[in-house]
Amino acid sequence: MSDDRSMLVEVATGLFGDLCTPEDVVAAEGSGWSARLWDALAESGFPYVSVPEEAGGSGGDVADACALLAVAGRFAAPVPLAEAGLLGGWALGAAGLELPEGPLSVAVGRPDDTVSLTGGPGSWSLSARVHRVPWGGRAERVVLLAPSGGSTYVVSAPTSSASVTPGRNLADEPRDTLTWDGGALPDDAVAEAPPGVHADALRLRGALARAALISGALARVSDLTVRYTGERHQFGRPVARFQAVQAHLVTIAEEAQLAQLAVQVAAGNARPDPSFADVASAKAVASEAATTAARHSHQAHGAIGMTKEYELGQLSRRLWSWRDEFGSERWWNRELGRRLAEAGADELWPRISTGLVTA
């Protein structure tokens, strides 16, 4: 890890450690949102890491943003950090639109979404219905990609003019439906999408961001399970002494490491954009790891893990949500498999034996 990135991780770990304790996460469950945490993050410029400074961001690269997201995942942070920088901020910055002061989210481009942008400079208007927008109701702006007159536009849609139907994922993180009914948009909220800014690219970034969150949460799940089973005594000794329990610990550690390395490869190779093969591998591995590690760590914890207050549940409910968001393991494995089948048998090993590529 570069020195700058280590520093970023260290500072972020301190900040989350102060403002995002397990008690804070429980306290935020009702709304799925911590204003105090968001304000502190914004103060430090964290939401816009990886967005160029010229575009109003904080600079840094995709790998920096993913390292930061791994920390956020480890603390189960109830804020739209992934949506702000790697997704929304990236699109706004690339299109030359201004970054909002308040929280920024993004419509993830689901098949049931409808987006219609009409008019032109001076007369833009937006009709849209977008689903499961992370923290959509809390955001100041939501980034949409809108086709109009043969081009695609990046829209920085103000949520003040949207109606919001709240929704949630399994961890009670907001996943809201937002509707705009043909209201006018100011000119500075619309710009033509530059090359490279399109729905597939957004999906890759979204999947990478979720994989990074998963990797951080898994590292914490691993530590937590080692600690708890070392402290919990039954039959006169720590349960971690039982080989059956040790097998759980080892599986969790393996899956956590697989996910972390896959994410670091995908993030490290994103210069500047992540590649399909890297992200497909990372999200598929991370989503499967989420499934496996959650199962083994709940088993190793016994009943305490089934309580809402205990930290494990904050993490496992996120893992069970994030594994499906921006594409499940099956979705990414299928897409990756299709491309590998197309490339043929002799291309298989060359594609597997590429990892992180030297800069």
Partner: protein, 383 residues
């Protein structure tokens, strides 16, 4: 526990390209690949590989080797295994005996054996397991008694891979009784000539009918003093030394890769993937994404070794997940094709699948079982 992400340098990638080119010339298209390091014993191939400098890479030039890094060895090994190259003759000497001799052997032993190992000409077996000693290796009963100029060794070793083809084996035995409270004391490693008087090698037929395993009976076999490997009484420390860290290489996760490639060739990869079903694509994508991630773990251990670290827990994790994955590949492909297995099938993939089903149980046993590995890893995690 820490796995640092690492990339290959331009020089390491260039080495890969050279090995790939060599293999393309040596292994004709359509020929049957070996599955894993124990897949095929081919001295001629081992010598050719050695002539290119790809055997004895860990051995310094002064002993006829090449003094290459762990990552260079990793790159060569993964190319060989992915291609299904027949590396069975030299692999154990190269991976295990060479480095052990280098670290613990006497100067005389190094001069005697290392150049031959690096030339791909001297092959070693491992004489550890016995009928009553498997995972509990310290309980071995083979014993050596002091005589003029050396030792007389008596006992029985089992599961000795390739003893009928190799030249020597490193025998773990008792040279003095266990001490109070330490069954690990009094064990030594002796280098025994597999063709010496009193050594009887008999086949133990392997599950697939091949001759791989042997029983090696030692009856009053004379072993001269200069064949005591390392220090007398340090056998236990030597077999469990940090060299164990070296055992998480590509041979622990690539054994069944050629099977996947041949499935792709005959199945979903035909006609540029036009006929691939969703289920096939999912299987292919899943195996490929996990190969990539496991490879990254294994590579990270090699890089740590080069940095002088001792990644014991990491190596155990890689071997544990890697060998289980080798088995998963077999079952995932079996489930994908729905056929009745026949080792004589005209389809290369199906013939390999039959071979893989019959040998797969060994992956999570050989070199220390996964149960034992999980114990090692779990202790490290708690620290």
């Amino acid at each position: 526990m820490h796995f640092a992400v690492t990339s290959l340098t331009a020089a390491e990638e260039a080495l890969r390209a050279e090995v790939r080119e060599f293999l393309a010339a040596e292994l004709p298209a359509g020929s049957r690949p070996a599955l894993g390091f124990a897949g095929r014993h081919a001295p001629e191939f081992s010598r050719k590989l050695a002539a290119r400098g790809w055997v004895g890479m860990a051995i310094p030039p002064e002993y006829g080797g090449h003094g290459r890094s762990a990552v260079d060895r990793f790159v060569v090994a993964e190319e060989l295994l992915a291609a299904g190259a027949p590396i069975g003759a030299h692999f154990v000497a190269d991976r295990q005996t060479g480095p052990t001799l280098l670290q613990f052997g006497t100067e005389e032993q190094r001069r005697r054996f290392l150049p031959g190992i690096a030339a791909g000409e001297i092959y070693f077996s491992l004489g550890m397991s016995e009928p009553d000693s498997g995972s509990d290796l310290a309980s071995v009963r083979t014993r050596a008694t002091r005589v003029e100029g050396g030792w007389r060794v008596t006992g029985t070793k089992v599961w000795t891979s390739e003893a009928h083809r190799n030249h020597w084996f490193a025998v773990l035995c008792r040279t003095s009784p266990p001490e109070e409270g330490s069954k690990h004391a009094g064990l030594s490693q002796l280098i025994v000539d597999l063709h010496a008087d009193g050594v009887r090698v008999s086949p133990i037929p392997y599950l697939d009918g091949s001759h791989h395993f042997n029983e090696v009976a030692l009856e009053d076999v004379f072993v001269p003093d200069e064949m005591v490997l390392g220090e007398l009484g340090s056998g236990w420390q030597q077999v469990t030394s940090e060299l164990a860290y070296e055992r998480s290489g590509p041979d622990r996760w690539l054994s069944t890769f050629p099977l996947l490639r041949e499935w792709l060739r005959e199945g979903p990869g035909r006609d540029a993937g036009k006929h691939a079903t969703d289920d096939e694509a999912v299987v292919l994508g899943r195996l490929a994404s996990r190969y990539r991630a496991i490879r990254q773990m294994s590579l990270s251990v090699a890089r740590a070794l080069d940095a002088g670290e001792a990644p014991a827990v990491e190596a155990a994790l890689v071997k544990e997940i890697g060998t289980r994955f080798e088995q998963e590949v077999v079952e995932a492909l079996r489930a994908a094709v729905e056929t009745e297995l026949d080792a004589g099938s005209a389809s290369l993939f199906e013939a390999l699948l039959a071979e893989a089903v019959l040998t797969a149980p060994s992956y999570t046993l050989r070199g220390g079982t996964n149960e034992i590995l999980r114990g090692v890893a779990a202790k490290g995690l708690g620290r």
